[in-house]
Symmetry: C2
Subunit: 139 residues, 2 copies
């Protein structure tokens, strides 16, 4: 039940994010074919407005229907191209990030404990020097 | 090339979002098993802090190592459970959202044009009344 809710919410976030990426793609394309329109779309697409992809598209439809339709087509295309790689990339990415975070933490902990025990180290090593293993052959 | 960049950026956003969902899950679990700790984690996990999942986990590791490890385990589990449904849910979701947005826009356009042409409608219908089809049998 919880997984179902999280899957639904994640889907919503993904759709909004791919809408944002579609807007960026169209702005880049317009930068090469129609600079003034690209500039207009850039100014229209404030981060505040683009937060909610659907509301953004509804606003844009009022102002420039053709651009809104174009962004809708691009986001559909992006979804088809990008999502198939996501399951593996996200799972691997999280596993990798977890390992790196654990390693960094372990390094920090080791440095802290090394610094803290520096004062005692000489005594320990002094004892260690006497503690030669008995099972090493004399020759 | 562009698709590869977008896939990478989307993966990063997804990982951060699943970290947020893992935090919510752990806060909910603690609400039933250890309310004071749940309250502490809730206060620690400000939206500003949680924006960057990795930075958040590094901060939490300094404050409460056990909770950080737990959240890392939960986000790994969530990724495995949730991502397999995402490609279909996102593609279908975007197609559905596009259709609904187009329909709403069409409805608005029709209402606007209906309102604008209301004045002319009576004349058009008056002409229509005379324009009876010739191929309807008399009986």
């Amino acid at each position: 039940m919880e997984i179902k809710r999280i899957a639904k919410e994640t889907t919503k976030v993904m759709i909004s994010y791919l809408t944002y990426q579609a807007v960026r793609t169209v702005i880049n394309q317009l930068g090469e074919t129609n600079k003034p329109l690209g500039f207009w779309l850039h100014n229209f697409s404030t981060s505040e407005r683009i937060k909610d992809g659907e509301a953004y598209l509804n606003d844009l439809l009022e102002e420039h229907q053709e651009l809104a339709f174009r962004i809708m087509t691009v986001r559909e295309h992006l979804a088809e191209e990008v999502t198939e790689y996501l399951p593996e990339m996200v799972c691997t990415g999280i596993k990798q990030a977890n390992i790196e975070t654990r390693c960094r933490h372990l390094e920090r902990m080791t440095q802290v404990s090394t610094a803290a025990s520096d004062a005692n180290d000489s005594e320990i090593f002094a004892e260690d020097e006497d503690d030669t293993p008995d099972d090493i052959p004399a020759e």
